[in-house]
């Protein structure tokens, strides 16, 4: 590991330079950055990287944090196996 990297998203291994480049290109919403880089689409659903990226966007664009951080979290949190869903199906259903 010789190149110094600042990791933003540990789930998908995305570094801050990638994020900064995108913001400079005008990609200034969390949702867009997420879609392009997959940042935040890993198991943690962006819990750790979301605020970090939001701060980068706020710093570069002056947008207020609350506009940037719109919660779009989607269940099932933490994930569930198909098998586990099947096991839980009630018989009477």
């Amino acid at each position: 590991m010789n190149d110094d990297k600042t990791i933003v998203c540990r789930c998908e291994d995305i570094d801050i330079e990638t994020i900064r480049k995108l913001i400079d290109q005008g990609v200034t919403s969390l949702e867009e950055i997420k879609r392009i880089t997959r940042c935040g689409m890993g198991p943690c659903q962006g819990k750790t990287c979301g605020p970090v990226i939001a701060r980068e966007i706020a710093m570069k664009t002056g947008q207020p944090m609350e506009e940037i951080l719109s919660p779009r979290s989607r269940p099932p949190f933490g994930g569930v196996l198909f098998q586990e869903v099947l096991e839980g199906i009630d018989d009477e259903e």
Partner: protein
Amino acid sequence: MITCDLLVIGGGPAGISAAVAAGKAGLKVLLLEERERLGGQLTKQTHRFFGSVAERAGTRGIAIIKDLETVVAQLENVEISLSTTALGIYEDGVSTALKSGKMIKIKPKAIVVATGAFEKFLPFENNDLPGVYGAGAVQTLMNIYGVLPARRILMIGSGNIGLIVSYQLVQAGAEVVGVIEASPKIGGYLVHASKIRRLGIPIYPSCTIKKAFGQDRVVGAELVRLDEKWKEIPGSQFTVDCDAICLAVGLNPLIDLLGQSGCQFKYIPELGGQVPIRDESMRTNVPHLYIAGDLSSIEEATAALLEGELAGLSAAKQIRPGQSLEARMEEVKTHLRALRSGPVGEKIRSGLSKLTGEALPTPSPRTNAIDELSRTGIASPANLAGVLPDEKRKKTRAYAVIECYQQIPCDPCVHNCPFGAIKPFSDINDLPIVDFDLCTGCGQCIGRCPGLAIFTVDETRDGDRAKITLPYEFLPKPVREETVDLLDRSGKCVGQGVVKSVLNTPKQDKTTIVTVEIHRNLVQDVRQIRVVQKS
């Protein structure tokens, strides 16, 4: 499909408290906890909690949980489901959870969400190197699994978590090479800062981490000083050697589960970031959905317990109207307001006023300016002068020195003096004031102070010998007549003394009370002892 009156998600202090309150009000309650035991953050807290005695402050986090577990176990109508992770809250009011390899469905009449918080992350170069940990992970390894993550640790963040985890690391036998803090003053309670300073751990305010060094694991870090505008000062970089970097840079409420519930959020940095909007009774904008604890705002266990109770009572009131729960609800609200009324509650108060749109309550008269103490964690002679008795009194009897200079919501000392010598508080944020006419220097208060900020001094004897009694929480314990090193407030060795008594009964609960005979000139300097390595 499982049905119940109230579903509580999260078995930390807030969730347990909600379950207990609702259970006592006759509701059929189901409490879900992801981990294999109740307690949340408290299960990792081996230190004594600051806060209100009414909410068990002065007791260790792990002990508070034992108490709560006993209370909740006695309520037959409260069912606890451990190792159960809530997966989602859906629009039809059904929650799903993962339990024993099954996705179960629960349809309650109301829900209290008390999922706590998760740690913030910090971007810096090479932050993906093995050896970069969150404080939570370090605590879990150390306090639950008994594994020391590293030998030489750099702590990032001087909030209470950074300070307390540093202290715990030293207890576990590690070395903390420093605590760095971006702000010009220490973030956490100064008593906690003083506790680690006298162990010799440096605190660097106005400083941040630039990068970690290492090929396949951390071997050091480059730090840089910041100016008053938080900009890096060019050329001010310096490096430290360490084999781990521990991040304690704050918490964000864990709001995920509420994401598609229809619950509205607001970004309020004072409360920890994106927080659910709720009223004073902990009700969100979604009917039958309540929140409590760190999820609602990053605070302390006392607040979590009170908010949990309030949420439980609110739900009970809604589901089973006709019970007279209002009086207790008002009482809890009053407690919460009192808790947040001091200078350190300023942040929470301003956050809450943003949340509710209420006007700010009148600011507290005394505020904590950035003085030497809040920059260094070391009390100045002026600080000290304010808490000592006069020269005449010093000669007549032993006396307590309470080195608590910052108004924080904490009151165990007041409740633990057998002579009533610590003046009763009108407000939980009051500073302790010793009535030296009543104080006997008995030292009962020493082990009760969560900040380990109380010492007793006996300089009644003639000659150059005096005695100091102080709290000691490390291994090995000293023994009587042993010679120990004497450390001052910055951890510097200023001499040696002989141990005269060691009090270590179960009542002390591992905070050993040690009396050392030292030179009388040192009584106001020595605040820590070090057991000299026995060969």
